[in-house]
Subunit: 245 residues, 2 copies
């Protein structure tokens, strides 16, 4: 750089400058930021520093980068910097204050849909090659998770251990739906689920009914019986959280 100092803190400076620039230029959601190379020259830092700053802004949901050329390439402003942190962070920070009702409600929504969709897909797989290898993998994973949960929980095993396999099973079913977005959401909710599930299992004491539910869900999906799958999922959550039904 031209000056003698300021070799460190370049990244921080860049982050600040980019945000100020968004503010000053009055950029609106959807607008395009200058390219990485231009920004680097403009701010008198290396492209590496610019990239680190942009990557951070990307994970914060402020910009969204896309390679290629044309009006949709480059870093697109997807949210104002001030409100940026919120969406993702608010969720994770506030996660601990969620009520069991909210978590169960969400699980019901996602898992009934997942089981239904997964069953429909396996059902349709009889004719065309409808179920891709990926989803077969997910079903295999579900089988394994189910067996792991069954094998372990004889008596002494901890509730936490059972819940781990339990959650793996339910995530696998979401993956078997063939919708990566739903699966990702389900994975994102793992921690919230775990907290409440451990409580529930400890209160129940016995997991026999829950394991039996797993088998019914699994069987219904493999058989392509969507209504039975939905019913089995509902019953499962009702067994685990009877006070909410």
């Amino acid at each position: 750089m031209a000056d003698k100092e300021r070799r460190t803190r370049a990244f921080e400076e860049v982050l600040l400058q980019i945000e100020r620039r968004i503010e000053d230029d009055g950029l609106r959601v959807g607008d395009r930021l200058p390219g990485e190379r231009n920004l680097a020259e403009e701010l008198q830092v290396s492209r590496s520093s610019v990239r680190e700053a942009l990557r951070v802004l990307e994970t914060l949901g402020v910009v969204s980068s896309q390679a290629g050329r044309g009006p949709d390439a480059g870093a697109i402003l997807t949210s104002r910097p001030d409100s940026a942190l919120s969406d993702l962070l608010r969720l994770s920070l506030g996660m601990s204050s969620l009520s069991t009702r909210e978590v169960i409600g969400t699980r019901l929504m996602i898992e009934r849909w997942s089981a239904e969709t997964a069953a429909r897909r396996t059902g349709a797989a009889a004719r065309p090659g409808s179920v891709t290898p990926i989803e077969m993998d997910a079903l295999d994973a579900a089988t394994r998770a189910m067996e792991a949960a069954t094998r372990g929980m004889d008596a002494a095993e901890s509730a936490a251990e059972f819940v781990r396999h339990d959650i793996a099973f339910h995530v696998a079913i979401a993956e078997a739906s063939g919708n990566r977005l739903v699966a990702a959401v389900m994975r994102a909710l793992r921690d919230a689920m775990r907290r409440h599930a451990i409580d529930a299992v400890e209160r129940l004491g016995d997991t026999t009914a829950l394991r039996e539910d797993h088998r019914r869900i699994h069987a219904a999906i493999l058989a392509g019986d969507a209504p039975a799958a939905v019913e089995a999922v509902s019953a499962h959550l009702a067994h685990a959280y009877p006070e909410h039904f």
Copy 2:
């Protein structure tokens, strides 16, 4: 790299691997992560990619980097990675590769449930004080967003503008369900929705039917008619994405 491909997505992969490593190695707050150079070699990526991942973890408060040497230098774990957060993060990063089918499927799942639940709650509000002020606020917000979308889209307004209000409307309904988790997920999906919604609106050209759908959804929820609300939501998405129904 040893392999032929996988030149892209290195950063995402690294983020995942580092988090898994923290998990698997049972690192505790205060422990030290391997150096950037070691991580790079271990994960078979360049130091740049490792740095981007670490920088992200740093801004998320998971690690804290310090130059120099000794036990306090390097990347120190300052907080367990809330896997919920990072999964959601990865979700927003990888969102661009999602198909319209996946986004629509997810929207159908969330929005039908939200509308149904919101309607049930307003319906039940006749007797006890069931609908909290928060949810009334959400309904008001939905009303405003709906009106904004109606007012604007005379002719010349951009599809992007309409979609902004459209999404605000749908998020408000998720909030009206009274389940903060579902609402948070819906907010997190805004970006993914926006991309596909803009395409759809531009293809349609006319938003009359969509605005009429909004009114029906809104009215059904206010009337506490859950089946009608679900039906209206389904119809709305079918109008916007006829090719997926």
